[in-house]
């Protein structure tokens, strides 16, 4: 029943808050997780080597449009590629999944907080007063997300074809291909499953398959698809992180097998 007066801070500076919990933990974890992935994937993309092993193809290099491996669609590096520009088959395709994740609604919210502190966390003071949001350039470009989504869906098809190829192992002596399952096959399969869970739970996909409708009852099939996408969308963040980790690990697995650091065990 005692009463005492204290001075109060009126203006909130960067990071200032009355919150008692460890609000900084999530943005720091997101910062570390995304930074680690960006550094590793950039390094892996620049390598241009050790991205295939037997029937396996690293997802960072799939589809391999031009390249030296047997997975390449159109043969070796195109002659028109400028000599002064570094070359890697992944340069031709990696922009698509990168753009999909960069403009993803979940990642946007996460990296605005973790990398730009806008805000650092809920009810925590921000470093700058000026704010334009996604109203003007450059962030208005985030609205292109659905086009990246269309490409990402195509990539799921390509990666699924890679899994099919990963089921056929070539005998080095006879050159005959036979059905088999290696640990790498399972790694590639799980990669498609997780990327599929992430891609098919996309907010933009949810909208284009039926979310734009006001009357689902007029399109029962659309409603079913919308319900499936909504179901995946509920755990979009989880799918986003699991698929991000696993796609990086899949590349690492193929890379280390190709470098003969790891051995790919055959199950069948």
């Amino acid at each position: 029943m005692s009463s005492s007066a204290e001075a109060v801070v009126k203006k909130r500076a960067f990071g200032q808050t009355m919150r008692r919990d460890a609000w900084w933990k999530v943005p720091v974890a997101v910062f570390c997780g995304l930074s680690a992935f960006i550094i590793y994937s950039t390094w892996a993309a620049f390598q241009g080597a050790h991205y295939t092993y037997g029937p396996y193809l690293s997802p960072f290099y799939s589809p391999e449009l031009f390249g030296d491996s047997p997975h390449a669609w159109f043969g070796p590096k195109p002659g028109i590629w400028p000599g002064w520009l570094p070359w890697s088959p992944s340069f031709l395709i990696l922009w698509a999944p990168a753009g999909f994740r960069l403009t993803c609604y979940y990642y946007r919210g996460a990296y605005y907080k973790a990398f730009w502190a806008d805000p650092p966390s809920c009810a925590v003071g921000e470093p700058r007063k000026f704010y334009r949001g996604e109203n003007s350039f450059p962030l208005i470009m985030q609205n292109v997300h659905r086009y990246f989504m269309y490409i990402a869906v195509l990539f799921i098809v390509f990666l699924s074809i890679d899994v099919w190829h990963a089921l056929w192992f070539e005998d080095p002596d006879t050159g005959v291909k036979s059905f088999g399952i290696g640990v790498g096959t399972l790694v590639l399969t799980l990669n498609v499953v997780l990327l599929g869970g992430y891609t098919f739970g996309c907010h933009s996909l949810r909208h284009v398959v039926g979310g734009f409708l006001d009357q689902f009852s007029r399109s029962p099939s659309r409603f079913k698809v919308y319900s499936c996408v909504s179901c995946l969308n509920k755990r979009h963040m989880l799918w986003a992180w699991m698929s991000l980790f696993w796609v990086g690990f899949t590349d690492l697995y193929v890379r280390l097998c190709a470098m003969e650091v790891w051995t790919d065990f055959r199950i069948l």
Binding site: A5, M18, Y112, P119, G211, D214
Partner: protein
């Protein structure tokens, strides 16, 4: 190891089976200014922050202003910031708070203070009036009313749970930190717009307003509004992002815009066709 962890939890979140004294730091003041004042009161098992505030009112601060009504999380009156997070005081159990330090209670930051814990939330009602009204299609049932399928109404039903506590408006950094009340209508008004825009009977188009007057582009999807909603409405994923996508349809995606116009043209042709038959 486990025993030590349990001990740690017990010392931080005190067991309230017996009466114990806890200190509250409550904001006292008005528009001109104010300060946090410390109050000590006895708390018992089952108490919520609002109970403690009422007890302090009765014991030592009879002039402490606090808005409340149902004490059941349904009226949305007792919104405040407890330990820095926007919460309903009546739904915040003291057993969930660390009581080894004073519990801080202050008014919502995004709105002008009237007195102590009471803020002027009238801006929210003015904003709501700006939103284009419900415009139902002509009645199409035999009894001159409408029929709606359950799957059509399920989606907007979620938005009807809103109790207008304005915690989402308070936590939104666009309003809270950047004070863009003239440019952005905030999460609550977005939920209201979504309820109208996605309603199976509604025929009004609000995408132009969403883009400009309602300022949907200011939302950068931090999901803080969803986090603080006491009714657990998935504000960002189910209301704001679908509205953003509708704005994309109309203004940023040329293919979608073309298809939408084509669809509208078809619908118009279909509605006009029966009228032409008698001639």
């Amino acid at each position: 190891m486990r025993y030590r962890a349990e001990q740690c939890v017990h010392s931080r979140f005190l067991l309230l089976s017996e009466m114990s004294k806890t200190t509250f730091r409550i904001w006292r003041g008005d528009r001109e200014g104010g300060e946090f004042r410390g109050y000590e009161t006895e708390i018992t098992e089952g108490m919520v922050v609002l109970d403690a505030v009422h007890q302090i009112q009765a014991e030592s601060a009879g002039d402490l202003a606090c808005r409340w009504n149902c004490k059941a999380g349904k009226c949305g009156s007792c919104s405040a910031e407890v330990n820095g997070m926007p919460k309903l005081m009546c739904m915040t159990r003291l057993s969930d708070l660390p009581l080894d330090e004073p519990v801080t209670v202050q008014p919502m930051k995004a709105f002008p203070i009237i007195k102590d814990l009471i803020t002027d939330v009238s801006w929210n009602y003015r904003v709501k009036k700006k939103i284009k009204k419900f415009k139902p299609r002509p009645p199409d049932a035999e009894d001159d009313t409408w029929r709606m399928a359950q799957e059509d109404i399920d989606r907007v039903q979620e938005f009807r749970k809103c109790i207008e506590c304005f915690l989402c408006q308070d936590v939104c950094h666009v309003l809270r930190d950047h004070d863009l009340h003239d440019e952005f209508i905030g999460p609550r008004a977005m939920v209201y717009t979504a309820a109208l825009e996605m309603h199976p009977l509604d025929t009004e188009d609000r995408t132009e307003e969403l883009r400009k007057a309602y300022g949907i582009g200011y939302c950068n999807i931090t999901k803080c509004c969803t986090k603080v909603c006491p009714e657990e409405i998935t504000i960002t994923d189910n209301a704001i992002i679908p509205l953003k996508e509708r704005v994309v349809d109309d203004f940023y995606d040329p293919v979608a815009r073309f298809l939408k116009r084509l669809g509208r043209g078809k619908a118009k042709a279909e509605t006009e066709a029966p009228a032409a038959k008698p001639d």
